[in-house]
């Protein structure tokens, strides 16, 4: 016995006492689906590319982005960013300016000349894409990446569809549009322009294509009967925007009235202002709240001096003037005529009451179903005719560029599966990272960096781009505002807050691991995880 006086046992460490046996619940790291990702019609992994951008790895961020969507610079200008409407950060201060960071990345890619991913080895399959709008281009990109030979046909002399002939230049400069389309062409997509597809099926057989993706859009302005005197000047919105793009200035006069409440109506009004109209008035039968046009566009139009006449319908059009009837919303929110009339001076009336698809190319295709003017597709985007798929504005869905891009991607992946003789299983989705799963205490307050806008008076007379991009430091600031909802961003909180040192830090990029020998299952790590990436699950047995 060589121990000191009164000492009988050697000193031991408490590490011998494995307190993990106390546990009834264990923490588990999860990756949840951030609401932004869930809301993105193009299925972008927004949280991931913001995470990549946060440390200045812009190229990596851009590469993550183009996995899903080849047009960041276009998206960053024309997307109505439903991601931002659901962004959890909106409940802390203001939504992350996702769209502006996307544009920053898109512009940087064009500046730096980053190219899209190299296509997979040749599959030996040939696919025809009809329509070079957002949906067709997106499908062409994804099909090409998957190794298929792609022929893209469009009746217009230039590709882009509504992005060129519907969206005015001040929202989407053509240099940007051209540059992003060029990148897709460089992947080896064959463009056949000024080629109107009269019969889809004939072209499929004649060309020996293994599959077809149709995305002809909705390019015909809806006709509505407006009683009019002989000298009344009535035009339709689609042709007005198309003419402007072609450099043919439509004769609108000094005072222009635009009938309708969607984005096209706003685009026409803003375009009319730029063409020199003194007055551009939007006549809409409901209220501003019920207007389908995007809020930021309406806001910008108002700033430019576009006038709005709510709760009004056009009863009669004559040379130089319109007869307007005032409406009132009934209990169900539907506008009802009031019998009250007023006159509105207008040299022209532009109808922006919606658009329809020209589906004549689908006549005589067996099994194909059309209802309400749009083509029916199944969950794989395939029409009733095997091998013919469709997407974009010609199928039932919301009609935006981003939805079109999303359709193109989804169709491409399904066409690929179909060509390989299988069906693409519905990809499984993680549960959504709702706000109440986060611990917002840890996020410092930092409001959204609003993109500078061209000063209203100046921009109203030019077609210069209205919304300017972020500079590098503001883009970084904005990316860092992302709370990384539902996805660990290595803030070390779990590692710090465990009273039992039972969280193991695995080092940069490798996240953390729970030491189950000592974890007592208190759950502090889960409740203090800022982004909700830890859940407690019951122990078995």
């Amino acid at each position: 016995m060589d121990k000191p006086f009164a000492i009988t046992l050697d000193v031991g460490s408490s590490l011998a006492n494995q307190t993990g046996s106390w546990r009834v619940e264990r923490p588990m790291y999860v990756d949840l689906l951030p609401p932004c990702n869930q809301a993105c019609p193009a299925g972008e992994n927004i949280q991931k590319w913001l995470y990549d951008a946060e440390d200045g790895s812009y190229e990596k961020a851009w590469r993550t982005l183009v996995e899903e969507n080849p047009f960041p610079a276009i998206m960053g200008r024309v997307c109505y960013h439903p991601c931002q409407s659901v962004c959890n950060r909106g409940k802390v201060d203001e939504a992350v300016g996702i769209n502006s960071v996307e544009r920053f990345l898109g512009d940087m890619a064009l500046e730096q000349g980053w190219s899209l991913p190299v296509p997979a080895p040749d599959s030996g399959k040939r696919v025809l894409v009809v329509g070079a709008g957002p949906s067709g281009l997106s499908a062409a990109y994804h099909l090409r990446r998957l190794g298929h030979a792609v022929t893209l046909r469009d009746a217009a002399p230039l590709p882009g569809g509504m992005m060129r002939f519907g969206i005015p230049k001040y929202r989407l400069p053509r240099t940007v549009l051209d540059a992003e389309i060029k990148r897709v062409a460089e992947m080896g997509v064959t463009f056949e322009l000024e080629h109107r597809t009269e019969h889809a099926l004939d072209e499929m057989t004649a060309g020996g294509f293994d599959a077809v993706f149709l995305a002809v859009g909705a390019q015909i302005g809806k006709r509505a009967y407006v009683p009019a005197g002989e000298a009344a000047r009535i035009l339709d919105a689609v042709s007005v925007l198309h003419d402007v793009e072609d450099g043919e200035l439509p004769l609108l006069g000094r005072r222009v009235a635009i009938y309708g409440g969607g984005n096209t109506a706003v685009d026409v009004a803003r375009t009319a202002k730029r063409l020199g109209a003194e007055e551009a008035v939007i006549v809409y039968r409901r209220t501003r709240e019920r207007m389908p046009a995007n809020d930021s566009e309406v806001e910008e139009a108002l700033e430019e001096g576009v006038l709005m006449k709510w709760l009004s319908t056009v009863k009669h059009a004559d040379a130089g003037k319109l007869m307007i009837e005032k409406m009132a919303l009934d209990a169900s929110g539907f506008p009802q005529p009031t019998g009250e009339f007023e006159e509105l001076e207008a040299d022209s009336l532009v109808l922006a009451l919606g658009q329809e698809s020209d589906l004549s190319l689908l006549e005589d295709v067996p099994g194909l179903e059309v209802s309400d003017g749009v083509v029916k597709v199944d969950e794989h985007m395939m029409t009733g005719y095997p091998g013919i798929f469709a997407g974009g504005d010609m199928v039932p869905a919301e009609r935006t560029v981003t939805v079109g891009v999303g359709h193109g991607k989804k169709a491409a992946r399904n066409i690929d599966a179909w060509l390989r003789g299988g069906e693409r299983p519905e990809p499984s989705k993680h549960p959504v990272a709702e706000f109440d799963k986060l611990n917002p205490w840890y996020y410092a307050d930092a409001p959204h960096a609003v993109r500078p806008r061209l000063e209203a008076a100046r921009r109203a007379s030019t077609f210069d781009e209205v919304v300017q991009g972020l500079d590098a430091s503001t883009a970084l600031y904005e990316a860092r505002r992302c709370m990384s909802c539902g996805n660990c961003f290595e803030c070390d909180n779990c590692f710090g807050v465990c009273p039992d040192n039972a969280v193991i830090k695995l080092g940069p990029g490798n996240r953390f691991k729970i030491d189950l020998d000592y974890c007592k299952g208190c759950g502090i790590c889960a409740s203090e995880c800022p982004c909700g990436a830890i859940v407690m699950v019951p122990e078995e047995g």
Binding site: S14, N17, W441, A444, E490
Partner: protein, 348 residues
Amino acid sequence: MGAVPVKFYQVGSFAVGNRLLDPDLASVQSDPERANSLTSGHRACQGCGEALGARYALDAIMRATKGQMIAVNATGCLEVFSTPYPETSWRLPWLHSLFGNAPAVATGVAAAMHAKGRDDIRVVGQGGDGGTVDIGFACLSGMFERNDDVLYICYDNQAYMNTGVQRSGATPPAARTATTQTVGPEPGNVFGQGKDVPRIAMAHEIPYVATATVADLRDLEAKATRAMEFRGARYLHVLVPCPLGWGSASCDTIKVARLATQSGLFPVFEAVNGEVTSSTKIRHQVPVEEYLKLQSRYAHLFRPTRRDDVIKKLQAMADRNIERYGLLEPELAPAVPAAMSNEPVEVA
């Protein structure tokens, strides 16, 4: 923006770390090489705030002193759960004597180190609220009065937890403990008694006094580190929720501490030479009720009948702290959030 560094708005400085943070600004707890002064295998309850608070404070001091320190511990949970003979969770030189004499023992250790010419070895005394504000108080006051070169840390869980939740001089009014039962017209601990030891410490005009909680790691680390810049008697009072004694969920330990600060019930401040020099502002003010209702020691204020009279008295305590320590930024909301005033408003 140019020279202005881009901030880490994801987490600001509130989380333990961030992959983008300059390593010089990293917290001690984010360091995989941290001392882990109190290591795994200790027998503290699930979600123990005291175990957490002790590791936070001691790891910071280990870093500040480059490991040249000795800790002296009073009896209490912290000693009992860490050191069942012959096992220990301590990874630093550590000494236990009695429940009531830790400050005096710490004084003795400091004197011994001085006698050996080892003033580089720093001494920390530590104990629970019972050991500090009650039974050890005479020793503590003596240590202050003599300005002995010791940092004393009180881990305040507001009762004698180790022996089964008896009231201490730090138990707040209205709280239920084993010795302040929820019976009679004034259920729970009485109002108007107890000791506010941080203020008593300040009255000794010792070099440094600070309060902190386990809800704000960076603040706690900064104060533990700053305390080591001074010589002489220093006092750090850390609020450490006790899930068992407070009747809160084990996962809510940090949340409860956070609400204690955000309601104003626990003021977080620093004082040098007896004067308050700074206080941590409330970021998101909450009515005291938010804090109370997470703890079953206050359940009798809500069931079977709501005791608005008592809740109001507790709110008044919070408001007094807010005023005394300037816990609200001037432009912020009034002391009592609208949600609190259940009083009928008289219309003139």
